[in-house]
Symmetry: C2
């Protein structure tokens, strides 16, 4: 398969992006091909610094870069030769089988949605992230593609995220929960209540009902469904809270004893390793007619490598065909706003 | 002042509730009075076991109890002699100046809203919680009273939470942020965008714009405004995530070395103490014509004591008068849904 990577996107681009691509090459099949998109000279000089030349990597020149904080839609419109714009165009023209970017998330999502169009039957794509928890990986969808969500969108997210959890993560019959504010059926807002009816009506889904914020990390579900605003808040809160706790621990440890702080270091490393969301690479944009993975802006080579491997798996298991097939057989239809 | 406490509400009722009341008594003024509401015999025998009799504590008999998991509205309707129903009725009849409960949150909020009515000018009350963070206490409102929120409600929450932060927590000019999914003005859903216009138009508020989940714990704001569904998810997620992290740390420590684990124990105690949300007692229901504090179901005596002291402060600084005064002078009006 052909995987295109935005070499210019992310806080550590292009070094870490290119490094990640080189790390992945050794794990891919012989006929797989990686395409680095970005400023040609810059990519070439990085590759030569790293002393690696391989025929499995090609370069597509894109002279512009969309900054991490640029307004996505305007940036896409004004920078048609940016790595993100070129990448999305390549996907639309079937010049690549998957795209990966750690750049401006909004621009990447907008570009992919615009160019790649939706899979047959899908109304709105959603971004899924895989959160490592004590109970195993939890696939949460949507985390920010769609902030004007309708019940039918949430139903489709539960289908797509379940299929992702099953085919890509290997969870046979993923338990689907819908994010709400209490366990009882009566709890939640109108959107959640209507969406629950749709999800419940589909016997093919392993629906476990409402879940609350605390249940996500407690093994109550394998798939957590929510609208994009809530999901995005959850994702960023998780990041902020984890940082705050470890900062607080470090502060207290250093106040208490340097020896204790040193002893605690490997514990922290171990925890970071076990519960590191970079482990699952990027977040797939489920529902587009193609394969798009969005990586965190802070991605280092490992994340990029893992995103490449996730794209490979996504391709190999033919996830999109499963989604189209499932939705074509589903009798669930919109029940309003 | 007179403070009524639901003696039967919470996982550790009535022991810890009564213990908390006794702890608070020593800190209150001479003419303050605590009223314990619940099953009289039960409360009396607890008081006598604790060997404490004081004229500052009286008992109001309420034979029924609303269970923690009962559907709130039905429970209130069917159990008119429950401690929560009696408590709300007493507040409505001006038989108490404040009410506190660690019982069924939904029933408590519904009972207080129904009986106490709203302060003049307030359209919908909101629950505010105070989160301890590295940057100091952050007052977040609403965390679940209102899941069908309009922009004008969010504006009023920013007014009420700012006044709470200033007068009760002593933050002179609290920075108000609105929870969104990106820093730029263009980010967010329709509700957030419209609410932002209202909040921004009021020069009396120290508005700092959008905040993201990660900013809450990072000293970016003193007041975080959001609609009740999002706030409730955030609150419960925070709880779940903190538990997961400490569980994971404990697991790794015990695997590594018992000595290290023992050494880490006081660090954890220290962190729990510093960042314990029980420190701020209960969550005030801002906007009702009275003073109502909702405590976590897991509340122990310390939380109840702190909630009593927060109610005392709320009363002393005349927070409700400040709210009514501010809103009566505000020219901000609804700008739609």
């Amino acid at each position: 398969m052909r995987i295109a990577i935005d070499a210019m996107g992310g806080d550590h681009a292009p070094e870490e992006i290119i490094k990640g691509a080189l790390e992945a090459i050794t794990l891919l099949d012989k006929d797989d091909e990686l395409i680095l998109i970005g400023i040609q000279d810059c990519i070439e000089s990085q590759l030569s610094v790293m002393g690696r030349s391989t025929s499995a990597i090609s370069i597509v020149h894109a002279p512009d870069i969309i900054g991490m904080d640029e307004p996505p839609v305007e940036a896409l419109r004004n920078k048609r030769k940016s790595s993100i714009a070129v990448m999305a165009k390549m996907a639309a023209k079937d010049q690549t089988d998957a795209v990966i970017s750690a750049g401006n998330t909004g621009a990447c999502v907008a570009g992919c949605q615009l160019r790649m169009r939706n899979l047959e039957g899908v109304i709105r794509p959603g971004i899924a992230v895989v959160l490592p928890t004590l109970g195993g990986p939890v696939t949460m969808c949507d985390v920010g593609a769609n902030v004007a969500c309708k019940p039918i969108n949430l139903y489709q997210y539960s289908v797509m995220a379940s299929l992702y959890s099953r085919h890509v993560l290997g969870i046979e019959r993923p338990r689907v929960g819908i994010m709400s504010i209490g366990g009882e059926e009566s709890k939640g807002n109108i959107l959640v209540k209507n969406a629950r009816e749709l999800i419940k009506s589909d016997q093919g889904l392993n629906f476990v009902g409402n879940i609350e914020g605390r249940d996500i990390f407690d093994g109550q579900c394998d798939v957590a469904i929510c609208e994009g605003f809530v999901g995005n808040v959850v994702l960023k809160l998780t990041e902020g809270l984890v940082n705050m706790i470890f900062k607080a621990i470090k502060h207290e440890l250093l106040q208490a004893s340097l020896k204790l702080a040193m002893g605690f270091k490997p514990i922290m490393t171990q925890i970071y390793k076990k519960y590191d969301y970079h482990e699952y690479g990027g977040a797939p944009l489920l529902g587009v007619n193609g394969k798009a993975f969005i990586c965190h802006g802070s991605s280092k080579s490992r994340t990029i490598k893992n995103a490449i491997m996730a794209a490979k798996k996504f391709h190999t298991v033919k996830l999109n065909a499963h989604i189209v097939d499932y939705l074509s057989k589903s009798s669930v239809r919109s029940n309003g706003d």
